[in-house]
Amino acid sequence: MSAVRNREHGLELLRHMLRIRRFEERAAELYQLGKIHGFLHLYIGEEAVAAGSIPSFTNEDAIVATYREHGHALVRGTSMNQLMAELYGKAAGCARGRGGSMHFFDASRRFYGGLAIVAGGLPVAVGLALADKMHGRKRVTGCYFGDGAVAEGEFHESLNLAALWKLPVLFLCENNLYAMGTALARHQSQPDIAAKAKAYAMGADTVDGMDVLAVETATGRAVELVRNGNGPYFLEYRTYRFRAHSMYDAELYRTKDEVNEWKRRDPIATFEQTLRQARLLRDEDFQQIEAAIATEIEEAVAFAEAAPWEPIEDLNKDVCTDVRRTT
């Protein structure tokens, strides 16, 4: 069993999860207000995964994530100002506003997206790991993707290549039981995802993705296995998204009961309980954390609101570097 090391550790994990939750709740409001547009995929319910796993990676390691990556970027350390500005599409955003919600990037933290083609990040992660291996660097690439991505051909190709070449990549499947509206058992003939890793002779574990401590322990162990040159590893986090797939989803494919059943396992509430029972959390700690986050968010909103738009004349910037070309 995983345990909280100390008060600081416990509060840190709680804070990570709460930051994600509150940031996204605010983002949803801002979407309704017409401040944020396009696709917005909320991570609410799955916070334990990012909060428990991302800190296992060092600053030198690389992260590749999906369009549901707000949590990953937040825990990785990109400032909320930059992330909120990105949601607004402002030039001060973490991708100069070019990407929006689905395309967070942060070179300074080796955060390679924010990639929105399902499974499209896996080959890229394999390549990042290949570069590390060829350079002889002891770095790990963490590659996040959903259960839906498991069905794509690139999942298969990437696991094979990573295992064949013993590349330092950690595959992190966030199995929230649905690919949009398609339940796991309706898209996988073998719904035990971790079992698939055997087909590539790759080690794998299934982890309770609603338990931030379990996530932390399993990921920490896996990252070190990978770092020590044992080739790739696979983790399946069993988790659940509490909100709709995106802002356009009528949620016809699951019952309220099912959602409520999972909400009883809310990773934040349960971890709060754990901390309280261990007497590591007092009411005022909680209030303090919440207050700090609320301030941070309001500052981020103010920052995003005030930030300038990128000038239209710069439309064609950053398509290619080459000075040879005009287009």
Partner: protein, 324 residues
């Protein structure tokens, strides 16, 4: 005539197709329980059951390929690829199998497959979700490429496509799904061989298709206020191209602007321009102009996205340059 949305028109077409012919079925990602990403198939699962409304795993290459196989096996599959952006993953099946099997087999096999997909930008969904690749598809021999721009075509082209013995690709502009229009109910199956003159005019031909039709019509309205009568052509079918209707218009107006939401270089607009030159060079009073997207992955923020795409004012400006 009834007023319905483009989305409802697609749904009406799907329902009729499923009712008429038991060989017809719909498959794709989230067409069933989710109700369709753009809600086009909402309610169909309940009406026709999971055998005929099939949710697929995320595996574009395989479910498009399975559509090819099912068509070879005597079915009339309608495959929904959620958007053209994801259709890249199925392009090998499309080009190397769907489009090629008839020829490679010396005419023994044919693939009566209909593939529908959403296309286009304008909804702030950024670089990976905003492609307009109809022009690529129009390059492929052996297939038909349709771009319904009206509710009548959204419904009717689907039904017409299902009569074809060879693969048909239908590109529904994502921006149009919520648009309302008049359904011409006397057109149960629309013609899919001809371009349509959507607004007659004599001074310049605005030639376009899909979502850009409405921008061209808006430009024409604006131009009319300046006394310029633009004729607006809706290509409707990109392959095989109805060059006859285009040339008739250009021979009358002597000037043309082609509007295409794809990136300019290598756009289908280039093909249209080239064919106009080939067929009506001596009738042209000016070079054919193109209004296309800027050559940039479509950015997320509204002001940049708008600047990247064709817009009525850009069309108006292009016409003024041509005339002036």
């Amino acid at each position: 005539m009834t007023k319905i949305t483009y989305r409802e028109a697609v749904r009406a077409g799907l329902r009729e197709a499923l009712q008429r012919d038991l060989r017809v079925f719909l498959m794709g990602e989230d067409v069933g329980q989710y109700g369709g990403t753009y809600a086009c198939s909402k309610g169909l699962l309940e009406e026709f059951g999971p055998e005929r409304i099939r949710d697929t795993p995320l595996s574009e290459s395989t479910f498009v390929g399975a559509g090819i196989g099912a068509a070879l096996g005597g079915m009339r599959p309608i495959v929904e690829v959620m958007t053209v952006n994801f259709s890249l993953l199925a392009l090998d099946q499309i080009l190397n199998n769907a489009a090629t099997l008839r020829h490679m087999s010396g005419g023994q096999f044919n693939v009566p497959l209909v593939v529908r997909m959403a296309t286009g930008a304008g909804r702030q969904v950024a670089a990976q979700h905003s492609h307009s690749l109809e022009g690529w598809y129009a390059h492929i021999p052996g297939i038909t490429v349709l771009t319904p721009a009206t509710v009548t075509d959204a419904r009717g082209m689907l039904l017409a496509a299902l009569q074809e013995p060879d693969p048909v690709f239908i590109f529904e502009h994502a921006y149009l799904y919520s648009m309302e229009g008049e359904l011409e109910e006397n057109r149960p199956v629309v013609d899919i061989s001809r371009a349509a003159v959507r607004r007659p005019g004599k001074d310049v031909s605005l030639i376009t298709f899909g979502g850009s039709l409405w921008k061209a019509l808006a430009a024409a309205t604006q131009l009319a206020q300046e006394g310029i009568e633009a004729e607006v052509l809706d290509l409707r079918v990109l392959r095989p191209l109805d060059i006859g209707t285009i040339l008739t218009s250009v021979r009358k107006t002597h000037r043309a602007v082609v509007i295409d939401e794809a990136w300019r270089t290598g756009s289908f607009a280039a093909e249209v321009a080239a064919q106009i030159m080939e067929g009506a060079f001596y009738d042209l009073d000016a070079p054919v102009a193109r209004v296309c997207s800027e050559e940039v992955p479509i950015p997320y923020p509204k002001h940049l996205e708008e600047a990247a795409l064709p817009q009525p004012d850009k069309i108006v400006k292009a016409v003024r340059t041509l005339l002036g």
